[in-house]
Symmetry: C2
Subunit: 346 residues, 2 copies
């Protein structure tokens, strides 16, 4: 009996008679043959049957960030439908060890929100497989992208706040660039941010307040390396200590905003009467807290990224998918309090 016959027995049941196939499978079982080796098959067919996922953060962090899990859920959905596996590539974000990217047996990569010039990302680009980026980096040649219009979204948020009379605002943002920077981010650092998404969000906000006649140079922006509720809380404390006159804290993520809310609660600041707080993302926790935020379709982003990568049948399709966002006015934004009301407790 030849190898072909056995191979056919497994892969193309219609190419041989049923009894013969049964005989083959029976013999295989008797001999303890575990079926075709998937790696050898992949080598031969030039198809790994899996999509690689590259994240900025440590793999384990992704499961703690609700926006990331939403994305993962959507991506997993798309992979399921296509019968493709999802390989989480184990990169140590601080380390520039790229072997994991080289070692990944995948048919393509999805890159989720990584820094410009990320070495792992560069390694991905060198691999001869298609790549789809979600969110960041932007404008990489030959690479499809799915994301939202961060600038426009934050512009809408800024206008909402300006309409409410806010003129003295503070901003909490996520990591802007290299280094474990925590604290105020001056305009130079803002301009040099290697995370386009943060850059865009700040730009949108700046534009909205420029319309209201607010000088951006006077707007304090505080950066946090870690993305967590705790980080948001401590950053808010810092921000308000330095600028007691602020009427609103604008955060570039819901997680940070939840930290701001926690600070407010612990310091008997009434939201929104004493302080307006806003977020970005629209994660479940934030919606439960009635946070004023920008909702973006995180699950759809994952699904779209997966589909872009897996359904490569049709050429000439859009190489960029921009999903819609929505300003959700919750219970944490209200009219700016009168200028004379100060709080010494900060």
């Amino acid at each position: 009996m030849s190898r072909t016959t056995v191979s056919n027995a497994y892969n193309r049941p219609d190419q041989l008679s049923a009894p013969l196939r049964a005989r083959v499978l029976e013999a295989a079982r008797r001999l303890g043959y575990p079926g075709p080796d998937p790696v050898a098959r992949s080598l031969r067919t030039r198809r790994a049957g899996a999509v690689g996922l590259l994240l900025t953060e440590a793999l384990s962090y992704a499961f703690r960030d609700p926006a990331a899990t939403g994305f993962l859920e959507g991506l997993a959905l798309a992979c399921e439908r296509a019968g493709s596996g999802l390989l989480l590539v184990p990169v140590s974000p601080e380390l520039a060890d790229v072997t994991a990217v080289h070692q990944a047996g995948v048919d393509g990569f999805v890159v989720y929100s990584v820094q410009e010039d990320d070495p792992h990302f560069k390694a991905v680009l060198e691999r001869p497989v298609p790549t789809v980026v979600c969110d960041q980096p932007i404008g990489v040649e030959g690479v499809d992208r799915v994301g939202v219009d961060d600038r426009a979204a934050m512009l809408a948020m800024g206008r909402h706040l300006a309409e409410l009379g806010h003129r003295r605002i503070g901003v909490l943002c996520m990591r802007l660039g290299p280094g474990r920077h925590n604290g105020p981010a001056d305009e130079a650092r803002q301009a040099g941010a290697t995370y386009p998404v943060q850059r865009q969000r700040l730009a949108g906000l700046r534009e909205a307040f420029a319309e209201a006649g607010v000088d951006w140079a006077a707007v304090p922006v505080h950066e946090r390396f870690e993305h967590s509720v705790d980080a948001g809380q401590s950053a808010t404390a810092e921000l308000l200590a330095a600028h007691p006159d602020l009427t609103a804290v604008v955060c570039t993520s819901d997680i940070l905003a939840l930290g701001a809310l926690r600070h407010a609660a612990q310091h008997d600041l009434s939201v929104p009467d004493d302080l307006t707080v806003t977020g970005f993302d629209g994660v479940p926790e934030a919606m439960r807290a009635a946070l004023t935020t920008i909702r973006q379709p995180v699950l759809e982003k994952g699904r779209a990224a997966g589909e872009l990568l897996l359904e490569r049948g049709e050429r000439n399709r859009p190489r960029t998918v921009t999903l819609p966002t929505e300003l959700v006015v919750g219970a944490t934004s209200g009219p700016a309090r009168a200028p004379e009301r100060f709080f010494s407790g900060w």
Copy 2:
């Protein structure tokens, strides 16, 4: 120049001179050679560099269940440390299509909480790679397992409730066996449960109440196919409608218990004065709600599973890891209300 030299240039820099190596790499770049093909390398070295993960539920569900994400986080941590990828195997839980398991190029499988006789699990066992099970199924020969003592944990919970004077309790449990069953689960169904974890938890509870002289046959057990807060809520409504005299609702998961709490809140039942509610797992949401529950180290489970699979150096290691659990008495369990206090509003 020979293949060996090129291979060495990539894999064993110490086997050739630095200048030669540079020359090779330079030439590779010039010729557009993307580096060694990971699949071919895997075939040759007989190492895929990835761990496969098999879940009961659809891949996408895993990201929504906090216990599962905790497990994933721990597993991802172990994989990171070992430099191994984590391949999420796309199985459609309802479908018995096993090809995804056959197709996965992995060095081993981690199986998370699947049913006995799950066809995907069977397919995993046929693969000639090591396998580690978390939670379920139990007692599979030649397969390592990490889990907790579900029976003992629930025994402790039952005793806690019995001490508080509860005698008329109702139980909400997760899927017990095949079929989309929703509603009361009689003793036959309980005994025939194909999910050992649920079986064990019920057994522990039964034992505790037997000690208190309660006949298990009189304890209503309601099953839900779906594992969600909504399911817990509707099951609680059903349970209390059929048994208005219950003083406690014992849930085999926090998610279900959160649903019970929601039902109580929406029906003006005071917890724990009118009704005691308990959960299982100790997920963050539940701890925030001060739920009385059993805390189990979900992250550690993931990490232990990964380590068991990846650190196969030492032989004669324990083939089973049983992690500790802890009864956490929160604010949702209190003394049973007096028998005469009934609620007609149910």
